[in-house]
């Protein structure tokens, strides 16, 4: 019990900077949700049940076009598939005795950031540490979205239309720094942007929805990159895992 309280406390403290970052990103998701036509509480509900910036951004684009449920499911699956790898890396670091309830609870919050701090813990890692981090990071994500949605509803349109660029600017801040370090990522980002642009401009491709475009390009370009430029073990999540 004492160990659990200590783990929770440590997770909570490590989760505070994550919560602040989440608040900023999810604020822009709230703004985007408003642009698409969601009420602030609907955007907040999406955040409270998902915790995935790219997945939610893609879902909002699909909703905007009135896309099908199948499209939404496949796009969510592909975009979030990397969490499978993270959970698989986490599960081997848990004590086999950890019960199902704890595992199901920590599963809610396997995000890039919480994965990052939890794999850095001593083995066997404690699910209570993750839950401590989630208990501050997750509210940050939901509150940011709610506030973004509310601001979008009350601020003058010249301000909200300017805020609408924020989500995409965040995405640039995520993809451009690694592209500086890694030539394959740089070419991949450039090709993705170019092809995405062509999809909207070329007549025979422009009928394809955003969700399908995300699915087609993510699968083909990532598969090609993985085939021709497989990453070394220590260049991936493994470095945090071992």
């Amino acid at each position: 019990m004492k160990r659990n309280i200590e783990s929770f406390r440590k997770g909570f403290i490590d989760g505070i900077p994550i919560a602040l970052g989440y608040f900023a990103v999810s604020f822009t998701l709230g703004i985007r949700g408003g642009d698409v036509g969601l009420k602030w509480y609907q955007s907040a509900l999406m955040s409270a049940t998902n915790y995935t910036s790219a997945g939610q951004a893609a879902a909002l684009s699909i909703l905007e076009e009135g896309g099908s449920y199948i499209e939404l499911i496949i796009s969510t699956l592909i975009i979030n598939l990397r969490y499978l790898l993270m959970s698989a890396a986490l599960t081997i670091k848990l004590s086999p005795k950890e019960n199902t309830g704890m595992r199901m609870l920590m599963g809610i919050g396997v995000t890039d950031e919480i994965f990052g701090i939890s794999v850095a813990q001593k083995t066997p890692i404690s699910p209570v540490y993750n839950i401590g981090a989630m208990s501050v990071a997750c509210p940050g994500w939901v509150l940011g979205t709610a506030l973004g949605g509310i601001m979008g509803e009350i601020l003058p349109s010249v301000v909200t239309s300017s805020l609408s660029i924020a989500l995409y600017a965040m995405f640039l801040a995520i993809i451009i720094p690694p592209a500086r370090e890694n030539k394959v990522v740089a070419v991949l980002v450039f090709l993705s942007a170019l092809l995405s642009f062509l999809f909207t401009k070329l007549n025979f491709l422009s009928g394809i929805s955003t969700g399908m475009k995300v699915i087609i390009l993510t699968v083909t370009l990532s598969a090609l990159a993985a085939f021709f430029f497989p990453i070394e073990e220590d260049n991936n999540l493994e470095e945090e895992v071992e």
Partner: protein, 102 residues
Amino acid sequence: MSDNYIYISILLMATVTYLIRVVPLLVLRKPIKNKFFRSFLYYAPYVTLAVLTFPSILYSTGSFASALAGTVVAVIASFFKLGLPITAAAGCVTALLFQLFL
């Protein structure tokens, strides 16, 4: 957009996302070692985010000129690794100034 459509969509995506996260925690006992799969998952987020960003970023604000200016500033800010909040704020302020004064 109907409320039903929104709530069913949220339920579906939440279910998919949660299953991806929780199933390995409940059933897997070994790490995933497949090099192609790992590489695929390493590259995938960059493609998805780039596809979501372009060309949407250019139409995200009230006018093409303000969006283009915001994009250029955000690209520069991210190139110099100023971090997510500063990059986003720089893009927004640029777009706002363009819309207000040009």
